[in-house]
Symmetry: C2
Subunit: 302 residues, 2 copies
Amino acid sequence: MQKVRVAVVGWGNVGRGAAEAVMLSPDFELCAVVRRNAQPGQVVHVNGADIPAVRSIADADGAVAALVCLPTRLTTAAEVEMLKAGISTVDSFDIHGDALLEHRRMLGDAARRGGAVAVVAAGWDPGVDSIIRCLMEAMAPKGVTYTDFGPGMSMGHSVAARSVPGVADARSFTLPVGFGVHRRQVYVQLDGTRPFEEVEADIKADPYFAHDDTRVMQVESAADYHDTGHGVSLKRYGAAGTTGNQQMEWRIRVINPAATGQCMLSALRAGLKMAPGAYTMAELPVISMLPGGLEEIVKGIV
Amino acid sequence: MQKVRVAVVGWGNVGRGAAEAVMLSPDFELCAVVRRNAQPGQVVHVNGADIPAVRSIADADGAVAALVCLPTRLTTAAEVEMLKAGISTVDSFDIHGDALLEHRRMLGDAARRGGAVAVVAAGWDPGVDSIIRCLMEAMAPKGVTYTDFGPGMSMGHSVAARSVPGVADARSFTLPVGFGVHRRQVYVQLDGTRPFEEVEADIKADPYFAHDDTRVMQVESAADYHDTGHGVSLKRYGAAGTTGNQQMEWRIRVINPAATGQCMLSALRAGLKMAPGAYTMAELPVISMLPGGLEEIVKGIV
């Protein structure tokens, strides 16, 4: 069986997780890593192999698809270009609501033009959790779902905090207060160009933080707080037909970048079986996220 | 919006649960209940409405689809007839492995001939749990998944025990020993035609029970043990890429017939959007199990 050639775009924590997932998969091969600052002839080491590091997806030899591991705000423009060129993409776009819908529409248009597929908002949340939330509603249409994240470091929130002027480095932790309420605890290391109070105010005003109780703490070294463990508990209490007291819970505890990268690869596998367009993970049949023949999976897992 | 007319076939616990789910849905209406012994002009009461009870699906006025709530061993033949006549079906076929594959193939052939859709093995297990097992493998391809049922009454096992000669009534409970090992506790009420030891041996030899530690107890009234509460815990410990210690758990506690009936209806909703053929729930996009517009769901849940 010919393996599908895939590139990883972005070489942060998630990029490394995605690259390792590709290397261990039976049906994909890692053809390149796309890094903004790659030097000619550079390679990166992934699971003992040397993988070419290139500056542009156009230099990723034979790439059919890209796992786009960039900060959310950089994904749309980068993916539109790839999709128009016929390269399928997966991202872990982590803003919900209208912004996600608009992103999905733009990528869908580009994907149909390029004859490619985009899977948006893929990861454990959004992504797997989105599927779980749909499943819970399918089981109990009336009721309430609660999402409780953490304790864990949020990569999206850490990137957002780091982008505030005056911040040299930052780590943002999500702490579950319970039943859908969270506290954000942000450890910031200043670069000396702005006073802490201004940095703190800017972080609290950022859309990533504005809706939650956010506490910003100045620290000597934000890196000392780095831990990639994360988790979530999704609970729904609801009614199936006229019958109440139906209780469901999904609970995970994972290494965040590895889980995100793996989910993105599984989403790509399913996406490549779809017609050109853009899809969230909940729009993809779950069975097609797995390698191997359908009847084998039905026999073994279903 | 025109509602989709659906019949419920079989009027046991699951049939009643399915009928209530249909009555409360925004997009389906219950056109009839199919009962073997229905009398001319008979009605059944569902959520305060009078629903025609008929002997055959052919008498279910305008039925586009049927929720087939019969014992598993009666489903294949009944559904093949309906599918050939162009009526889509959903069942909760609860035998795994080769038997399920064969059932899916037979229904798929009939469905394609009739231009209809069959969703097989729909419910909370198999069905939702099958989706969860696939999702867990998509998140952590290497590792082990454990399924622990109960404590709860198994409808399939109770029906199997009741079908043993000499049994007047029976309730079979599934008890989680832990990490995939179960004990079956069967309460049997004899009809006086056979000694307990023979009944006990037949139950233990039945394929439904043969693989588990099964304990059969003779009781005065099996109905005194009737409780429809049930649940499951699905756990997976695995690796995403090279990263181990990824932990996932799905845990539910439900009223079994209501949950099964609701899952069957949600599966039907998704099935009706597919090309003619037979599908397990894991082959259906989860988002299409919910009523309402896709963009609305993406905005609200994903």
